[in-house]
């Protein structure tokens, strides 16, 4: 959103003692207070963790640490596991034997062994409930409003869409939570990102969050818990809210949240792990308190006008390097800040792009629709609506759709979305993280440009020398049928 008319940061005045006492609580303050086990004299606090999600990449050393110290998990039923990063997206009927890379196979087998040994519930590779951890938690109702949720994965912020205190942790902390059900934390600052008004047609949650990151920068939320609010956010589905919270970490904030409302409660109702009967009623009464008070104090406030947000495309190697689809690759000569200028020069060199190239002039080699950011049913519906009756452009090497879970896949097939994709020439795959980070066989070749619905355009992220452009599912679908970026609104009826 560089160069747009949107207001800059509004830095709030520091609170006086009186204001601290008088001010209401933010959603984050409420969640923090509810999970505070002990405030320690040195300023750190013990925070209770209601749910830990585990996957194969960041858990093996944690389980090994437990074993070496002779410790047992504190509360088995707080944990749910699934393999997602390493799993292949083809030949899934072969189960673990379908993983060709022996190192990947060992990692998935290790997760199975650890979960079996400690009695932890795991959706294994052949279970229909298997999927990306951040898709299956909400899908199962294992993510409930007001929970504190952690996972050894930075995109755990996704679950904040349910009014949860959810963030990524390192492997040492995975072990700490397994052993103690707590984390040692320091309270973050509060930041409100308000998106006013309504979004235009063809503009999705992904465009909103990319526009936010473009505005505040990749470290704009560091040290803060972000709450996303405003009319535009309130009008979004849970899927779109999850997309936005998912990418909070790309703005530097470990935590991104949306207050609970009817949309949240309707989504959770009836899910396998959700409460029922009187317990449900009691839970809903509590969940309805999970919003910031009107007089709550935020350390930082940022506002955007929803109607000004256009479909976004990233051109560089950091998620803050984005432009509207009608924009251009920037010219480093016009950047005043020497460090930023150097960053642009380096990014353009890696991306093989010339300054001032129109975004719609960037030719593509592959299209990837998937990841914990955009692989839910609504994402697939949006992409299918664009490709329906069209064909993948002749110049593309590959366009693939990777659903977020076995259940998302089944639902998409029930709705006939798989047929739409296959008829258009896209590949219809099995669930997992796939080409978002290319730990399995799905990856970019050197120098290839990819329209990707994932979350990171870092150098080498999708494959050695690969060039990632972050977009929404609708924009990725539009790119698939044209072979370059195009404003999806031109393809919509």
């Amino acid at each position: 959103m560089r160069g747009s008319k949107i207001d800059p940061f509004i830095e709030q005045e520091p609170p006086t003692n009186e204001r601290v006492i008088m001010a209401g609580k933010t959603l984050y303050d409420k969640l923090w207070d509810d999970h505070l086990v002990k405030q320690r004299d040195d300023g750190s606090a013990l925070i209770y963790i209601d749910r830990q999600l585990l996957h194969e990449v960041t858990s093996p050393q944690a389980f090994e640490g437990l074993r070496l110290a002779g410790r047992k998990p504190w509360r088995i039923d707080a944990n749910i596991a699934t393999p997602d990063h390493n799993v292949p997206t083809t030949d899934r009927d072969k189960g673990i034997d379908g993983i060709v890379d022996p190192v990947s196979r060992t990692q998935v087998e290790t997760l199975d062994k650890n979960c079996d040994e400690f009695g932890i519930l795991e959706f294994k590779i052949k279970d229909q409930r298997q999927g990306i951890v951040h898709v299956i938690g909400p899908e199962q109702g294992a993510t409930l409003p007001g929970m504190s949720i952690v996972c050894g994965d930075s995109h755990t912020s996704t679950h904040g869409a349910f009014g949860c205190l959810a963030h990524g942790i390192g492997t040492s902390e995975v072990e700490h939570v397994l052993a103690t059900q707590c984390l040692v934390q320091q309270k973050m600052k509060n930041m409100l990102v308000k998106v006013n008004g309504k979004l235009g047609p063809g503009v999705t949650g992904k465009d909103v969050v990319l526009a936010i990151i473009g505005k505040i920068g990749t470290a704009g939320g560091t040290g803060h818990a972000i709450e996303f609010g405003g009319e535009a956010i309130r009008g979004l589905s849970m899927e779109a809210r999850m997309t936005i919270c998912n990418m909070s970490i790309e703005a530097g904030a470990r935590v991104g949240m949306v207050a609970v409302d009817d949309t949240t409660i309707d989504y959770v109702r009836g899910r396998p792990f959700a409460p029922t009967g009187e317990t449900w009623d009691a839970a809903v009464d509590y969940w309805r308190t999970l919003h910031s008070d009107d007089d709550a104090f935020f350390d930082k406030v940022v506002e955007l006008e929803g109607s000004e947000i256009k479909p976004q495309v990233s051109w560089g190697t950091s998620p803050e390097m984005v432009a509207g689809v009608d924009g251009f690759v920037p010219d480093p000569a016009k950047e005043q800040d020497p460090i930023k200028r150097e960053g642009i020069v380096r990014a353009l060199k890696y991306m093989g792009l010339q300054p001032n190239t129109p975004i719609t002039g960037i030719a593509l080699d592959r299209v990837f629709i998937g990841s914990c950011t955009n692989s839910r049913i609504e994402d697939l519906r949006e992409a299918a609506a664009v490709v329906k009756g069209r064909k993948v452009a002749a110049g593309l090497k590959q366009a693939m759709v990777v659903p977020g879970s076995g259940l998302v896949k089944a639902q998409a097939e029930q709705e006939g979305l798989d047929k739409i994709f296959i008829e258009a020439g896209l590949e219809w795959r099995d669930p997992g993280c796939s080409m978002c980070l290319a730990m399995n066989a799905d990856k970019l070749g050197q120098g290839e440009h990819c329209a990707s619905t994932s979350n990171r355009n870092f150098e080498g992220r999708q494959g050695f020398g690969g060039r990632t452009h972050l977009v929404s599912p609708a924009m990725a679908a539009a790119a698939a049928v044209t072979g370059h970026f195009v404003d999806v609104r031109e393809l919509m009826n």
Partner: protein, 215 residues
Amino acid sequence: MRALKQHQGLVAPMDRSNVDTDMIIPKQFLKSIKRTGFGPNLFDELRYLDEGKPDQDCSERPINPDFVLNQDRYKNASVLLARTNFGCGSSREHAPWALEDYGFRVIIAPSFADIFYNNCFKNGLLPIVLEEKIVDQLFNEAEAQEGYQLAVDLEAKTVTTPAGEAFDFEVDDFRRHCLLNGLDDIGVTLEQAEVIKAYEEQRRQTAPWLFGAGN
């Protein structure tokens, strides 16, 4: 965990902002189920000219002579000087494991990403935040003087240059205490087991929907 009280070492300046953890240790090396052995693949895509693979003999690979850590004058550096937002992106603790395994003990930058910053302390690695203009000065000095070393004192919370100029830094008391003493913080938390149990029991009464669902 290895304790760190004082450290003096050679400084390597990495003049690049927003260094992400994918850059520090690329994903193909995350398939290991161990905590050790990541050092040879630290900054793999910057350090070598070919595509790195797990279990490769890195001594045979073509190196990128332009990369700072490949220059003779920075061999055996143990203090990494970096730019803003170091360690952004993925939460992978493999990033501090790789830095530590390579031989770094201290990283100095104007700012760090939150998860990375926290992960460092769990692995005997000290991330130090100094003002941007001080970091600029250290970059200038490290590039101008071959063999430039910095002395870090965690007890006194100071970084001292060869000329004797000392800069104070902030670090929270709990993290400092654990690093100074090489403490396992799980053990420290478990000293509060009774408090955790009491909290849990009360939550079980007031919010029963949070219990028993995952099994």
